[in-house]
Symmetry: D4
Subunit: 171 residues, 8 copies
C-alpha cells in the first residue's frame, strides 16, 4: 500500500498536525511524520519530497503558518498530490498562511484544506489513496456513516430532552 | 482508466472552467463536463456526485463563485476526492468563494485550489488519478520538464536581449 | 399558528443558537429545534426543509460556522423564508461564515443576520410570521417599547449618578 | 394583498435596485419605490417606515452603499421585516455596506442579502409575503421550477455540443 | 463656554467612552454624557442632537459598535461637528464599526477617530472648541508638552538603565 | 475669519482634493492649497503646520494615499484640528490609507473622513469653523436644506414617472 | 563594486520589475536580471541565490505575485539581504503576495517593500549597498534633493496658477 | 564597525522590540535603543535619524503599532536603510501597522519585516551591515547552520520517539 507523509516546518505545529496522523492511524495507512522547514532546512525538505515517490509514498501532507511556503515548495519537486494545511500561527489568524498556500501559480497546484484542518487533510489523503486502494474506500464510507449516525443521535437526544436540559449536560 | 468530472453551477463559469477541461484533454483523461447548481438543481447535483464512483469516476472538480456551496455539497455525498475552484464572480474578488470552499467542517474535506485556478484543478486531478495510473505520472513529469524548459528559455533570452528589448517585444 | 424551525449543523452551536429559541419561547411561537448538518446528514437536512411547509412551518432559522452551507442548502429546497445565522466558530472570526451565507446566487436568497446574532434571528422570524399573525405584531411592538424604556432608564440613571459611580456599579 | 416598499438613498442606486422592482412586478406584488436618504431626509425616511404598516405594507426593502444606515434606521421604527441590500458604491467593493447593514445590534434585525443582490431582495420579499398569501407561494414554486429547467437545459446542451462549441456560441 | 456631549448606544460602551469624559474633565470643558441608541431610542437620539446647538453645545462625540449608525444619524440632524468613535464590540475587531462610521455619504461628514479611541475623541473635541476658546488652545499645548516630556524621560531612563533592567521594572 | 488649509502629498491627489477646495469656495471660507509631502518635503510640511495657527488658520485638511502619514505628521506639530482624507491611490482600494490615518496613537487625533471624501472634508472644516463663525452655521443649514430638497424632488419625480422612465432618462 | 540581482518568477512580471532595473541603472549599480521561478525552476533559483555572494553580489531583489514564495526561498539559501516585491498579479490586489512575502518565519527575514513597488526596491538596494560604497550615499542624497525640489516646484506652481488652472493643465 | 539603532514609539513596545536588541548583542553589533515617537516627539525623532549617519550608524530599526508612521518618517530624513517592524498593538492584529509601514510612497522605501518580527529585524540589520563587514557574514552563516541543525535534531527525535511521546514531552 502507498504511504503518506506528514511534514511540518516546526515542532510547534505538532499539536495541530498530529490530528492528521490520528486519521491515518485510524485507516491503517502507513505514514512518516517529519519536521522539515522550507527555510531552515531547504535541501532536506526538497530531497525528502523529490524522493518520496520512489520511496513508496502516494501523497504528502504539509502544514505551515505565516508566509507558508512549505507545501508549495514540496509540490514544486514532486508530481505526487500535496495537501496543504494553513496554520493559525500568529496575529493574522491564519489568513496569511491560507493565501500563501492556496494561491499557487499555474502549473503547481496544492490541495488546500481549511485553517488548522489537519484532520481533514488526513481524510483527503485517505480519499486520494483510495483511488487505488478499494478497501480504503469502504472504510471511508463506514467513517461517513458513523459521522451521520452521531449527528442523528444528537438530534434525537435534543428532541427528547429539550434544549435547556441538553445545554445543561454540555457544561 | 478512471474518469474525471468537471461541474459548475452556471454556464457563466464555463470560460474559466474550460481550462480544467483543456488540461484533462492534454493528458488524455476521459471526463464529463456538467452545469449543475447546488441551489437551483440540488437533487440532480447530489445524484450526479453520489453515483459518480459507480459510473467510473475517480475525481470530481467543482467550480463556483460567491457563497460557493457546490464543491462542499458534492463532497458530502461521495468519498471521491473533490477539488474546489473558487471563482471571482462578484465585487468581493473571489474571497467569499475561497472561504466558502476551503473552510469545510471536520469530516468533509474539499481540495481547494487558487481563485479561478481551473488549470491547476485539472493538474491536481491528474496528479490524483496518477496515484493509480503510472503512465499518467510519466506524462506529468514531462509536463513539468516542459514548464521548466520554457522558463529557462525565457531567462536566456532576457540575458541575451536585455530587459528593454525584451519588454519592447512583449507589447 | 405557523411554526418556526431552528436548525444547526452541530451541537457545539447550541450555546449560541438557543438564544433564538429563547425569543420564540418569549413570543409563544411554536418551534422545533434540530441538529442536522448539510454535509454529514445531507439527505435528512434536505428532507426536513423540503417537507417543512407541509408540516406547518412558516419560517426556518439555520446557523452554521466556517464554510456555512446549511442555510443556503435548506433555502434551495423550500420557498419558505430561511434566516441564516453566521457563527464565529474558528480563527476567522465568523467572516468566512458570513460570506458563505449572505452571498447567495441569484434566485435563492437567505435572510442573513449578524455574526452569532441568533437572538435577532428569532426576532426576525417573529416579524416575518407577524405578516400573517396580527397578535404577534402587537407583541413585537411591546417588546420594542420595553427595550426603549430600558435604555431611557439607563440614561436617566447615568444623569443622576454620574459616570464614575455608574461604572463602579457595573463592575 | 400586502404591499412591498423599495427605498434607496440616492437615484444612483436605481440601476441596481430596479431589479427588485422587476421581481415584484413579475409576481404581481403591489409596491412603492422611493428615494429617501437616512442622512439627507431623515424625517421623511423615518415617517415613511413608521407609517408603512398602517398604509398596508407587509415588507420593506432598503438599499444603500458605504456607511449604509438606511435599512437599519428604517428597521428601528417599524416591526415589519426590513430587507437590506448592501451596494457596491465605492472603492471598498461593498464590504463596508455589507457590514453596516448586517451587523445590527441586538433587538433590531435586518434581513440582509448579498452585495447588489436586489433581485434576491425582491424574491425574499415575495417569500415573506407568501407566509400570508398562498397563491404567491405557488408562483414562487413555479419560478424555482423554471430556474431548474433552465439549468438542466444548459447542461443538456453542453453535453450535446461539447464545451468548445458552447463557449464559441456564448461570445 | 460651549459644551460637549458624549453619546453612546449602550451602557456596555461606558467603560471605553468614559475616557472621553476624563479628557473633557481634564480641560474643564462642560459636558453631558448620555445613553441613547440610534435603533432603540431613535426619536430621543434625534431630538437630542437636533436641539444640541440651541442648548449650547459646540461638538458631539458618539461611540458605537457593530453596524454603528449612531454618529452618522446624529450628524444628519445637526450641523455641529460630530466625532465618531468606532468600538470593538464583537468578533470583527471593530472593523465593521469603523467602516459604518467613516464611510459616510457625501454631504454628512463624521470626524472619525481610531477604534476604541475615546481619549482621542475627547482631545479632538477640545481642539475643535479651541477654535473659539483661546485659553483652551493654551491648555492643549501644555498637554502636548507634557506628553513629549514623558517620552523623553522614558528614553533617558532607558539610556541609563539599559533595556534589560527597564524591562524587568515594567513587569 | 479663520482660514483653512488643504495639503496633499502629490499633485496626483489634486483631482480628488479639489472637491474640498470647491466646498470652501462655496462657503466663502478663505483657504490655501499646498502640495507638501510628509516624506519628500518633511521639513516644509512640518513648518507649514507648526506655523499655521499664527498665520490665521483654524483647521487643516490633509489628503494622502498608501502609507498615508501626512495628516498624522501635521497633527503632531499643531493643536489645530486636522482632517484626514484617505485616498484610493493603489491596488488596496484605500484601505491602507484609511488605517494609516485613522488609527492614530493616543494623544494625537486626526478627524478622518471616508476614502476619497474630500468634499466631506471641506464640509467638516466648515462645520468646525462654524463653532466660532455664526454666519457660517446658517450657510451650512441652508446647504443641508438644499440637499434635502433635491432628494425629495427626485422621489417626487420617480413617483410621477415610474422607475422605467426614470432609468431611461438617467442614461 | 558589489552587484545587485533582480529575479522574478515569470516574464509577465517584467513590466513592473523593470522599474528596479531603471533605478539601478540610474545609480550605475551593476546588476543581473533573471527569470527564475521558485516552483517551475526550483533548483536553478536556489543555485543562483546560493552562489550569489561568491559571484560578487551584495543584495538580491525578488518579485512575485499570488502565493509568492520566491523571495523567501532565495533568502533561505543566502545571508545576503533579500528585498521582496509583492506583486498585484490576480484578483486579490496583491494582498496574498504581500502576506506571503512579509510574514517570514523567525530566522529568515525578507526586506519587503510595497505592492508593485519595484522602484522602491531598487532604491532600497542602493541604500543597502551604500553601507559599503560611500559615493553611492552621495548619489542617494542628490536623488532625494531632486525629489524635494520637484515637490516644492509643484506647490509653487499651484500657488501661482490656482488649482483650477493646474488641474486643467494636468489633463 | 557601523552601529545599529533601534527606535520605538513607546516603552510598551519594548517587550517585543528587545528581541532585535538580543540579536544585535548575539552578533556583537554595537547599537543604541531609543524611545522616540513620531507624533509625541517629532523633532527629537527626526533629529536622531537625520544625524544617524554622521554618528556612525549603518542601519536603523523602527517599530510601531496602529497608524505606524515612525519607520517612514525616519526614512524620510536619512538615506540609511530603515527596517520597519509592524506591531500588533490593538484590535486590528497589526494589519493597520503593516500597511502603514510597507506601503510607502515612491522614493522613500522602508524594509518591512513581519508583524512583531523584531528578531528578524535584528537579523536583517546584521545581513545589511555584513555587506561591509565580512566577519559578520561568517557569523550569520554559523547562525543559519545552527538553526538547521536544531530542526534536523528535532525531526530525528520525532522519528525515534514517535509523535505521541514527543507531544507528551512538549507539555
Amino acid at each position: 500500500m502507498l504511504k503518506a507523509a506528514i511534514i511540518m516546518g516546526s515542532d510547534s505545529d505538532l499539536g495541530v498536525m498530529s490530528a492528521a496522523a490520528g486519521v491515518l492511524d485510524h485507516f491503517s495507512i502507513p505514514f512518516e511524520l517529519k519536521i522539515l522547514s522550507a527555510h531552515r532546512t531547504t535541501e532536506a525538505a526538497l530531497f525528502y519530497a523529490a524522493s518520496a515517490e520512489k520511496r513508496g509514498f502516494g501523497v504528502l501532507i504539509a502544514g505551515a503558518g505565516g508566509a507558508a511556503h512549505l507545501p508549495g515548495v514540496l509540490a514544486a519537486v514532486t508530481t505526487l498530490p500535496v495537501i496543504g494545511v494553513p496554520m493559525n500561527a500568529n496575529s493574522l489568524n491564519g489568513l496569511d498562511s491560507l493565501l500563501s498556500i492556496v494561491q499557487m501559480p499555474s502549473g503547481i497546484p496544492v490541495a488546500t484544506v481549511g485553517i488548522n484542518a489537519a484532520k481533514n487533510a488526513g481524510l483527503l489523503a485517505a480519499q486520494i489513496l483510495a483511488v487505488k486502494e478499494a478497501p480504503l474506500r469502504a472504510k471511508l464510507k463506514a467513517y461517513r456513516a458513523a459521522m451521520k449516525k452521531e449527528v442523528l443521535a444528537k438530534t434525537a437526544k435534543l428532541d427528547k430532552e429539550g434544549y435547556k436540559k441538553y445545554l445543561e449536560e454540555m457544561k
